[in-house]
């Protein structure tokens, strides 16, 4: 089974963000970077599928400046077989431009399955995987929390509002991974050493027309400082009064 997983390098969200002097990007000083959460689940799910099948390999693909090669190396150290870097100066915010570049790379690659995280944690659009499926003309299951492949077809549970749906689909297909499927493994020392020798190809990203661009980035206005209105059940009457008269939500 030949699987491609498309991943994105994102800053860890725990830190405080500042806006760069340009006003068009976050200031990267001091930020730590990693594979986007859902993309990490997708890598883990792909590795487990090939391990279970006892055959096949996982190719990991990422688009962006040269520094994304660090993220690709991490995926290789987790057990992916090879990596492709689609080089561009910066990752556009336009999901169709990204999808165009990924589809051009994936087209003709002979993949049985193309996997994405449900969304990236930084831009939180969740559009690229679905767009790639349409551009490749493949069936697509979005937000899978369970996934199984048997022969030339797959089954999945996809998350919808108020529950889930069990679905069946033919391969080749595109899927995106929601939470609940698997926690990403930590790379072993052996895996880290092996990753240095695994193939990592870099070629220019064939981005399409960019029709969505950043005009401004800002930090949201801080919430007004709240107040602790009291301790224990004795504070409940005052809370109810405030919810009725001040917040007007009761």
């Amino acid at each position: 089974m030949k699987i491609a997983v498309c991943i994105k390098r994102v800053p860890e969200m725990d830190g405080a963000f500042r806006i760069a002097a340009s006003g068009l990007a976050v200031d990267e000083t001091g930020l730590k970077w990693d594979i986007s959460d859902f993309d990490g689940y997708a890598v883990e799910a792909a590795l487990q599928l090939t391990e279970k099948a006892g055959a096949g390999e996982v190719t990991v693909i990422s688009l962006g400046p040269v520094v994304v090669q660090e993220t690709l190396r991490k995926a290789l150290s987790m057990g992916c077989a090879k990596a492709v870097h689609l080089a561009c100066d910066q990752v556009p915010v336009d999901p169709f431009a990204i999808a165009t570049a990924l589809a051009a790379e994936l087209q003709g690659g002979g993949y049985d399955l193309v996997m994405f995280g449900k969304m990236s944690i930084d831009s939180a659009n969740g559009a690229v995987g679905l767009m790639v499926a349409e551009l490749l003309g493949l069936p697509m299951v979005h937000a899978c929390s369970k996934l199984d492949i048997a022969g030339a077809s797959g089954t999945a549970r996809r998350e919808v509002e108020g529950g889930g749906e069990l679905v069946r689909f033919p391969l080749p297909a595109v899927v995106s991974i929601d939470e609940g499927i698997a926690r990403p493994r930590y790379p072993s020392l052996k895996g880290i050493m092996a990753a240095k020798k695994k193939p990592l190809d870099s070629r220019p990203a064939q981005l399409g027309n960019v029709a969505l661009s950043v005009v401004r980035m800002e930090l949201p206005s801080a919430r007004a400082a709240g107040r602790i209105i009291g301790e224990g059940a004795a504070a409940v009457p005052e809370l109810v009064r405030l919810l009725q008269t001040e917040a007007k939500v009761l």
């Binding site: 969200m13 725990d14 963000f17 976050v26 959460d37 999901p95 169709f96 944690i121 930084d122 831009s123 939180a124 659009n125 969740g126 559009a127 679905l130 767009m131 499926a133 349409e134 069936p139 697509m140 299951v141 937000a143 929390s145 089954t155 998350e159 919808v160 509002e161 108020g162 529950g163 889930g164 069990l166 679905v167 069946r168 689909f169 939470e179 029709a211 969505l212 661009s213 950043v214 005009v215 401004r216 980035m217 800002e218 930090l219 949201p220 919430r223 709240g226 107040r227 602790i228 209105i229 009291g230 301790e231 059940a233 504070a235 409940v236 809370l239 109810v240 405030l242 917040a247 939500v249």
Partner: protein
């Protein structure tokens, strides 16, 4: 090309709140463009009954696609239907709700039309030939203002970001039956697993009562459910720690890797306020926190806090809310 198309969702014979919120975005855009607002309402026979509500919220015409094959959302059929309609209309802008369905449908439609999409936006304005939208990114810690120059321009609107706006003088809404034959989908749904159908959806509930690890055990979520019942218009949410423990289903999870919600009132019960959780609820209009640790980070974002044992405070609050609501 000056009309605006809204892709509506209905449930139980009525348009969902998210459809009315999308209309509240579409109406002023159409007025500025000098065009009309059309709504595409697809579903089982009878779904067209919702046209009256849509008219009362600014729709000029409702395109009704009724078919027994559209009882459940089917991605491939709906994307073909919507893309076909956009191609045959004079639509400058197409507005989706960023619900689970809209988040699935909008990117598929955009790619079929070989255009792009601004997802999960909180405002949309016209600036010359382009749309300018705002979108929270980086788990809500950064607000991006984006320029969308595609034509047609597709946007999906974050649930709860705008209020539905009834029109003062609703005219007669034109209802147009759209001939539709659902396509055979390659992805076949074999079973639907519904959660608790008595529950309001997290994206639509005006009030959310969410529980965290401070509740100590799955059975103690009864406290949260009782408080939600007392409010009458509340849904129950949970933190990732709780869903990881299996106390609640993953679909209840609010946070960076769960649902992003913006209710009028968010009550955090026994939730410390991890950054990943705050990412999913910090845009709530009013936040109440109940936690025994007065240093818990949740108090930094809460409008009102009570320091105390949830097993003592929550039942008292439930009783007080019942009394207040009569």
């Amino acid at each position: 090309m000056s009309d605006v198309l809204v892709i509506a969702e209905a449930r139980g014979g009525e348009p969902r709140k998210i459809a009315l919120e999308a209309l509240a975005v579409a109406r002023p855009l159409a007025d500025q463009l000098g065009g009309s607002v059309h709504v595409l309402l697809a579903g089982a026979p009878g779904v067209g009954a919702g046209a009256v509500t849509l008219g009362a919220h600014g729709a000029d015409a409702v395109l009704v696609a009724e078919h027994p094959g559209l009882v459940n959302y089917d991605a491939e059929s709906q994307a073909a239907l919507v893309a076909g309609r956009v191609k045959s209309g004079a639509y400058r802008v197409v507005v989706f709700g960023a619900s689970a369905q809209g988040r699935d449908l909008a990117p598929r439609t955009a790619a079929r039309l070989r255009t792009t999409l601004a997802s999960d936006v909180t405002s949309v304005t016209l600036d010359g030939d382009a749309l300018v939208v705002t979108h929270p990114g980086y788990t809500g810690k950064v607000i991006l203002t984006l320029r969308l120059s595609a034509n047609p321009a597709l946007v999906s609107v974050r649930p709860g970001a705008v209020q539905p706006k009834p029109v003062a003088k609703a005219g007669a809404v034109e209802q147009v039956a759209l001939p539709v034959e659902p396509a055979a989908s390659r992805v076949v749904t074999t079973e639907t697993v519904l959660g608790d159908t008595r529950q309001l959806d997290l994206g639509e509930a005006p009030v959310i009562i969410a529980g965290g690890r401070g509740l100590k055990a799955a059975e103690h979520f009864a406290l949260v459910e009782d408080l939600a019942t007392a409010f009458g218009n509340a849904a129950v949410g949970a933190t990732r720690a709780v869903t990881d423990e299996g106390w609640r289903p993953h679909s209840d999870q609010i946070g960076q890797t769960g649902r992003l919600v913006s209710p009028d009132l968010y009550v955090a019960v026994g939730i410390s306020g991890a950054i990943q959780h705050l990412a999913g609820m910090r845009t709530s209009r009013c936040i109440v926190a109940i936690n025994k640790d007065k240093e818990a980070p949740i108090f930094k974002v809460a409008d009102y806090g009570i320091v105390g044992d949830v097993f003592e405070v929550v039942p008292a609050l439930t009783a007080a809310v019942r009394t207040a609501r009569g």
